[in-house]
């Protein structure tokens, strides 16, 4: 499953980030968003979802949320 259908407030582990975009990938990496790391969805709205990684909150759009697979 990916981030868009995550349960709110539950901690998941990132399984993979499905993008060929190296820049995006390495940027997400520096935020601590890479496979094996914990991630929590705190809000899921039509205009984006709010995630918590490594003690920070980010708003990401649905395009990006769809790329992040979690278990």
């Amino acid at each position: 499953m990916n981030l868009t259908n995550a349960e709110i407030g539950k901690e998941y582990i990132i399984q993979s980030i499905d993008t060929q975009d190296d820049e995006l990938n390495s940027f997400l990496f520096t935020l601590g968003c890479y496979s094996g790391q914990a991630i929590t969805v705190l809000a899921n709205k039509k205009n984006g979802i709010v995630i918590s990684i490594k003690d920070s909150r980010y708003n990401i759009d649905l395009n990006l949320a769809n790329l992040i697979s979690i278990i």
């Binding site: 520096t30 929590t40 920070s56 909150r57 708003n59 759009d61």
Partner: protein, 658 residues
């Protein structure tokens, strides 16, 4: 001695820089407020030695991702630095220390400032800084840069470690840096190292990945349905308060003083040469005074915007606007330059660097100037006050029209460039909401006010002097006689442009044309030049304590209708910005083709909007077409034709590609 400040975006680097150097650089709580490095000398109170502090754009790592990050990494690697002060957001060690360990690898002595300690105290998060210091082989000091707490100690430590070789706490096995998978493997290990340290030094009472009050507030503020109207209301309040209530109220007092001063100088020069008297009293004091009179409006606006930014709202605004901007081929990231653009287009255009996609970045740089900047504010205030005293929201409307034009412009750019659907991603950090700092807002307000006065006293003063001289002499360098003003140098130069403006203003007035032309040097000049050319000094009525009421001097002297005034105002707002902003566009776009396209689009859009407003407005008010309808229509059709042709060409190219 050179000390660089480096750290993650929004860790408080610029706030610390300002505290250390006594400067007042713009700070903000989103990534990308600082997009270029800047340096200044350290305040004497901190250190006896001569010392330069360098503020760098925020970076999450040494591997460059955005261009501000590469400024940071190349600067840190190549410049001869004595010490690096690494500013670490103490509320987010687990992410920040990744960059810290990379800085510690460079052999340059590092001092870590554990910033935002006040928030940790409030949340009862404890960090054992002694242990952290041992683990990282460098001094660690808790700081609060907003109140300068701990800064003295940071500098003391920096002087102490100067000249020593930094020993890295983390030993990375050598690997092939050209292989992506190898780099990632090494970086994962580095993150594991960081996590291990964080586990040992940090004890949290409040977990960060649990929904809290702030998230519930975000649900409302960034709600897909209410978010947009809320943004509109918030911005409306900012503009309305600064331009229709508190701003003009303060401006009245200021204008009173300026007029007294003008009268005083006028009396002093009563017996002087009439040309000299006119030059000083009407040209210089009158022109500059007309611009300075609007200072309180600019300052109040800055005060409010600074409060709004500081409380954390702006990051949310980008979230709300992202879907809207995506529809026209831009993204939420484009919102940041536009908000900065309410101040000045130049930093706004520079802020476009944070946008990764080239097309998106250039389009944003091209469209940002549609957002009325601080220099356009006096122009708006003048026309709104003089012609529409009973419509207090008119000035505010100009900002919303600006946003609308940005969306239309983006749509045109999207069609012209043959934008193929490309997934663009949007990610923004949501800083915590907080009570905005009054001190910061006041500093920001005075900084802006100072810049405004300096500009009025330099560029605007020179321009007004030149305008006054040019309108006082004719081509045979004789003083123009009263009643024969149209023979002056200025009038004859401006008249050709005045013809082009007939479909917008309904009259052929060289004064209006001259004001628009000088506006390209600096937009405040529109006000200054009108003041000089029409011999009007103060645009604000001090007796009524309001921006000039109806049936006033300005309206009768200019002899144009209300509709024409609105059209002329919009022409000045939405045509290309000043030359300085065009220069910034040139350097950010790095393409002559894009720059020319931008100027063409701005000229075309500005003219078209003004033409439509005047002609449609005239039909609605006096049920007849305004003068110059046909020539104006031809110009507008030419503009639209050029764009349609270009779009058509792109479509053919796209088809051929398929």
């Amino acid at each position: 001695m050179r000390i660089a400040l480096a750290g993650n975006p929004n860790s408080g680097k610029t706030t610390m820089y300002n505290a250390l150097t006594g400067k007042n650089e713009k700070v903000g709580n989103w990534a990308g407020v600082t997009v270029d490095k800047r340096e200044s000398s350290l305040k004497k109170g901190f250190c006896k030695e001569e010392c330069v502090i360098v503020d760098l754009p925020g970076a999450y790592s040494m591997s460059p991702f955005t261009s501000e990050e590469s400024i940071t990494s190349s600067y840190v690697k190549n410049e001869k630095l004595d010490v690096i002060i690494n500013i670490v957001d103490a509320t987010n060690l687990s992410r920040s220390l990744f960059f810290s360990t990379q800085l510690l690898d460079l052999s340059i002595p590092v001092v870590i400032a554990l910033n935002k300690n006040d928030i940790n105290v409030k949340k009862d998060t404890q960090i054992n800084e002694k242990l952290l210091s041992e683990k990282l082989n460098c001094p660690v000091i808790k700081t609060v840069s907003t109140s300068s707490e701990g800064l003295k100690e940071v500098i003391e430590k920096a002087i102490l470690v100067k000249g020593k070789k930094q020993i890295s706490p983390y030993h990375e096995a050598s690997y092939d840096h050209s292989l992506k998978s190898e780099v990632e493997k090494a970086d994962r290990k580095r993150f594991d190292f960081v996590s291990e340290i964080v586990k040992q030094v940090e004890t949290r009472k409040i977990e960060t990945n649990v929904r809290n009050q702030q998230d519930r507030l975000d649900d409302i503020i960034t709600n897909p349905l209410f978010g947009l109207p809320l943004f509109a209301i918030v911005m409306f309040c900012v503009f309305y308060i600064s331009q229709s209530t508190i701003g003009p109220w303060l401006a009245d007092y200021l204008v009173g003083w300026i007029e007294t001063f003008q009268g005083y100088v006028g009396n002093l020069l009563a017996n002087a040469n009439p040309f000299l008297q006119a030059l000083i009293v009407d040209g210089i004091i009158g022109g500059v005074g007309a611009v300075v009179g609007f200072l309180p409006l600019v300052m109040v606006m800055y005060f409010l915007l600074a409060l709004l930014e500081d409380c954390g709202y702006m990051a949310r605004a980008t979230v709300v606007l992202d879907p809207v901007f995506k529809k026209v081929g831009l993204s939420g990231k484009s919102v940041i330059p536009m908000i900065i653009g309410t101040g000045c287009a130049i930093p706004a255009i520079m802020a476009c660097r944070t946008i990764r996609n080239e097309r998106e970045r250039r389009a944003t740089a091209m469209l940002t100037p549609f957002m009325p900047c601080g220099a356009k504010l006096p122009v708006i205030a003048l026309f709104a006050g003089a012609f529409f005293p009973d419509v207090p929201w008119l000035g505010t409307m100009m900002y919303f029209v600006g946003i609308l034009l940005i969306l239309i412009g983006a749509f045109i750019v999207k069609a012209v460039t043959g934008f193929k659907y490309r997934k663009s991603f949007f990610i923004i950090e949501l800083p915590e909401y907080k009570i905005p700092s009054l001190k910061l807002a006041v500093t920001s307000m005075f900084e802006r006010g100072k810049a405004y006065i300096v500009k009025a006293g330099t560029i605007i003063l020179v321009c007004n002097t030149v305008v006054q001289i040019m309108q006082s002499f004719n081509w045979s360098f004789q003083v123009v006689e009263a009643g024969l003003e149209s023979t002056s140098i200025l009038a004859s130069l401006a008249t050709p442009i005045a013809y082009i403006l007939i479909p917008i203003t309904g009259v052929c007035a060289w004064q209006l044309a001259a004001a628009s032309i000088t506006g390209f040097i600096a937009k405040e000049n529109v006000v200054g030049t009108l003041a000089v050319c029409y011999g009007l000094s103060a645009f604000i009525d001090t007796e009524e304590l309001a921006l000039i009421g109806s049936g006033n001097v300005v309206m009768t002297t200019m002899a144009i209708t209300k509709v024409a005034a609105l059209a002329y105002l919009m022409f000045n707002l939405y045509t290309p910005p000043c030359f300085a902003a065009l220069g910034a566009m040139n350097s950010e776009m790095k393409s002559k083709k894009w720059l020319l396209a931008a100027i063409f689009l701005q000229l075309g859009m500005g003219y078209t909007v003004a033409f439509l407003v005047y002609q449609i407005g005239t039909i609605m008010t006096i049920h007849t077409l305004g003068p110059g309808f046909l020539p104006g229509l031809l110009i507008v059709l030419f503009f639209i034709g050029c764009i349609l042709l270009r779009i058509h060409k792109t479509n053919i190219e796209l088809k051929e590609e398929k």
